[in-house]
Amino acid sequence: MSRPQAPACIEDPPPGTLPRLARAQLHEVHASAADWASALAFAFGMVEADRARPVLLLRPRRKGAGFVPCGEGLRALGVDPARLVIVDARNDAALLRAGLDAARSSGPAAVLMESWGAMREYDLVASRRLILAAEGSLIPVVILRGDAEPRSSAAHTRWTVSSTPSTPLEMRAPGAATLLVELVRRRGGPAGQRWRLEWNEDHGGFRELPLDTRPSTEERGPPLPGTVVPLSAVRTRAPLRRTA
């Protein structure tokens, strides 16, 4: 008699489903500065968090113009702006320390940390500490890394998020937020999948769209009338010479 198959664990979602940013785990989200709104929207929308408790957002000091979360924009993603506590840290070391304290406390629903560039202090040891803190308090910790090269860490999942063209609404208006996310790495599970997600206001969550049916250029239409014809259309064999 053949041995009966070990039953698949009921809790494990079938492979290929989009995993949420689960509790008691550390997640890394990589994005470029231009896609920062998408990265934040992904973090807010996909994190597994209690809807009533506050969310901590920790940010480092950035030179020059900065981003400020907009309360009405947060509400459009289903997050009550009154829940947000924004912490500004002087430098990366202070940011990690504050994030660790936040992860250790039991009050927040989730801890989100923003960082830019190569964070030298965020090494294997730092990520292990964050994981221990998250496991102790059972809250998800998400570190958003902007313009950064992925570095080996103990995080449970690593994602890359970017914006992608949306399905237009009527009158050629931009559609709902649409993201392209890739699960680059997952501890103890398959990785490498990509999803195209669209924010669905009625359900207050991200909806998976088929990857291949991106709105083509024909569907989105040509650029708005009145633009200058792209240079490539008039390019002759010889490269254009700059005058003066």
């Binding site: 009533a52 981003f67 009405e72 702006p81 912490v87 009050g107 239409g221």
Partner: protein, 451 residues
Amino acid sequence: MRQGLSSGMTLADARARSPDLATAPHDPVADARVLEQLAGAMIAFTPLVALDAPDGLLLDVTGCAHLFGGEEALVRRVVKEVGPTTRHALAPHSAAARALARFGGKDDVRTLPVAALELDEGALSGLRRAGLETLGDLAARPMAGLAARFGELAVSRLRAILGETGSPVIPVRLTEPIRLETRFPEPLGRTDDALEVVEDMLTQAARTMGQRQLGGRRWAVTLHRSDNQRRRLVVETGLAVRDPAAVMRLLRERIDTLSDPLDPGFGFDAITLAVLHADHLPSRQILLESGKEENADNVSALVDQLSVRLGEDSVRRLIPRDRHLPEKAQALVPALRLRGAAWPKPEDMPPRPLLLLDPPQPVEVIAGVPDSPPQRFRWKGRLHDVILAEGPERIGAEWWLKRGGHMPGAAGETRDYYRIEDGAGRRYWIFRHGLFSEKPDPRWYLHGLFP
């Protein structure tokens, strides 16, 4: 009074008589608090201070005047302390003093008008009709007749003012602040030992505060060195606490952030702990089922800790403001100071980006006139083609904030906001600062990013 103003007048009448009148809304709660604070200050002159609501204080200075060099000097110092707009009077009896101060007599109570009895209008007009204008007139009449005609109250008050019956002063009993001090027979050499002593004192203070149902919001620990140098550590919390562990945590944070570290020198002689600000904090009830306490929004301890470490301006929350310029429609305020800000339920509002750029970044835009959306824009050196666009959402300038802003053309620039998507699929919030009819060459700015 000189300008014809009198109490009970309407604001419009008062403003008509005196156009430059400075006004403020009546805040009886704040007034009461100020009066209590003044009463506390008056303790310097006498231990018997009574409130004479809503705007007076009674000080029993029997036996205190000689300490200040006589009654005149005492009165001068009190007036200096309280402020120039006080009316004061000294008298052997408190009711007399009160009447003299309020109704402005000379030293003799008999010259006070009958209004000093503070009776109702009917009785007062009755007195006037009877030809009794001052208290001296009343005092000359037999009391029984006055009582029959004008009531017992008039007679008892008259008697009190004249000094025939007593008018005791009920002093304000100010709550003792919580202050503990520990002195050491020999100087304490190590900072860690000192912190242990502080923790013990916090436990003691917690017991006292528990009995009084108080929690501290501002704590000060002063370490006195044997060479007379003192080091003071102050921590603040957002919510009242009395848990010694919580306050110790904050004190250790404060010590870590000190620019020059705590140096015992030759040792600490004494340590004092004072609760500078206390609020009512009822005893917590432990839920029978779970055994744990509820912590619905319990980031207050974390907020306290991070505020001590990073500064209270580094830990902030968003509050809505009633302005319609997007960058002004919200504000970031220190979380330590905020009690709670509810964001109003969303009405149908045009979409807002998730991130606002602060300040808005200038971009070069090619767009058709007069209000077509941008067709191309250049930001940070990169050229973007606009594929989809929505708008304009017209947001006018806040003309009511500009001097002369109600005149046509002086209001400031109207903004036309567009939500656009470029070829790469990124969505932006761009506005044109000024209509083409307002300015010949309006600039464009990038104000936000949509997800």
